[in-house]
């Protein structure tokens, strides 16, 4: 196996695994589609990255963090639903992006380019992927309880603001990393599809998280390995592999 393919596979596995595990929480809180708008929010940063020649994730991350902080502050201030606030902020991001995005070079920003990932980016994907997995695993009960009923979580002593922030920060990291793998257009699929497939075959929370992570990793490996022989971009292939797994799980659906 060549060195570049190995780096792509390692990056893809950690990004997709963390995204899928986080996706189980986002699906439970009916926020899986929020990752889509947030991916779009990365586009102004991706535009800068393409213009100045640095990593898409590095360009995307500050814009996503800025967007998340604005959403978090607006949620405290207005109590509007988080998906409505996300829609407002992401539309601003997309509008800004298309003022600066060099359309001729936009493909990588829109559908990702994991095939050219470097050693530094791979290390970042591993470290941040593990950090997201640990943060989500340790906050899972509290974040789920907030989703079930915020007042109930408060009376159980859960610091709702803190855990909402951890949750949003994890989403920001996953979306920024996801831009490298599948681009700004399809990050929602990284969190939503493996989690939805896992939902079909799980009866317990433990199975749910494990299955989602496994489906995410499997999709990333299949998509990246299929890219070279088919001469197609890895991003869309990862998503199609994920959709294929979802299709198969329909035969085992618990619902």
């Amino acid at each position: 196996m060549n060195h570049q393919l190995l780096l792509s596979l390692i990056s893809g596995v950690f990004i997709a695994g963390a995204a899928a595990y986080l996706g189980t929480l986002m699906l439970s809180r009916k926020m899986a589609v929020v990752a889509g708008p947030l991916g779009h929010l990365a586009l102004p940063g991706a535009a800068l990255a393409l213009v100045y020649g640095f990593s898409l994730s590095v360009g995307a991350f500050p814009f996503i963090v800025l967007g998340i902080v604005v959403i978090w502050l607006l949620e405290i201030r207005t109590k509007l639903p988080m998906e409505a606030l996300t829609a407002i902020v992401f539309a601003t991001g997309v509008g800004t992006a298309f003022l600066f995005l060099p359309i001729g070079k936009a493909e990588a920003a829109l559908i990702g380019d994991i095939s050219q990932v470097g050693v530094g980016q791979t290390v970042a994907a591993v470290v941040l992927g593990v950090a997201v997995l640990l943060a989500v695993q340790r906050s899972y009960a509290q974040i789920l309880l907030i989703g079930i009923h915020e007042d109930l979580a408060k009376t159980e002593g859960v610091n709702v603001r803190l855990f909402n922030f951890i949750y949003l920060a994890a989403i920001a990291v996953v979306v920024a990393l996801g831009v490298d793998l599948v681009g700004g257009l399809m990050t929602a699929a990284l969190v939503a599809i493996p989690a939805a497939a896992a939902r079909n075959v799980s009866r317990t929370l433990g199975q749910y998280g494990m299955a989602a992570g496994a489906f995410g990793v499997l999709s990333a490996v299949a998509g990246i390995l299929a890219a070279a022989p088919t001469r197609l971009p890895a991003g869309p292939l990862v998503i199609l592999a994920s959709a294929g797994i979802f299709g198969v799980t329909l035969f085992w659906s618990q619902a």
Partner: protein, 230 residues
Amino acid sequence: MSEAALEVRNLSVTLNGTAVLSGLNFRVEEGEFLTIMGPNGAGKTVLVRALLGLMPHEGEVKWRPGIKIGYLPQGLNQMFVRDVPVTVGEFFGLRRVGAAETARCLELVGLPRAMAQKPAGYLSGGEFQRMLVAWVLAGRPQAVVLDEPTTAVDVAGGETIYSILGKAGREEKLTILNVTHDLNVVFAHSTHVLCLSRVGHRCFGVPREVLTPEVLNELYGAQLKFYTHP
């Protein structure tokens, strides 16, 4: 006089410039079953949230120091957990309740301990509501606050839940604050009632003493009477 489980003095809550509650005073002793009743919009849920420190208020809400409070909020229904593949045992685990305590509480409400392995989203409506009561009783709280706990179950199911709570109240000296519209619950299970109305009328005391037909009429604006079978 012994220390009250809860003492409320001059409690007022204002929402968007409108006084929802003003100058409310009452006291709940340990082991009492207080029902908070009144028509929609009278401020029952606002009162519960203020008592639990979940919203800004004026006046004094004084729980007995160190008291452990369980809370079952309004609208915690099965749809919330149906979207998540969570077993009953894992649902208890969200509150860091262990397997032994989960089994004890399930049996307390008349459910088999094996139910801990079942998906919570697919219990029957009655089983789910009983499971929620077990959930709120887990960890042996000394007081529980329940906001319309029987809205999703039929009359028989609701009666079972109140019987369970009454039994737990007697056996474990549990103080119960319960919000309901159901007059039957007030007369059959409550030691005290606090009634609130949209026009500021209120009453507090033993149900048979304070819930006269005139009071019910003022509360609900209809000619209501409550009859008990001889």
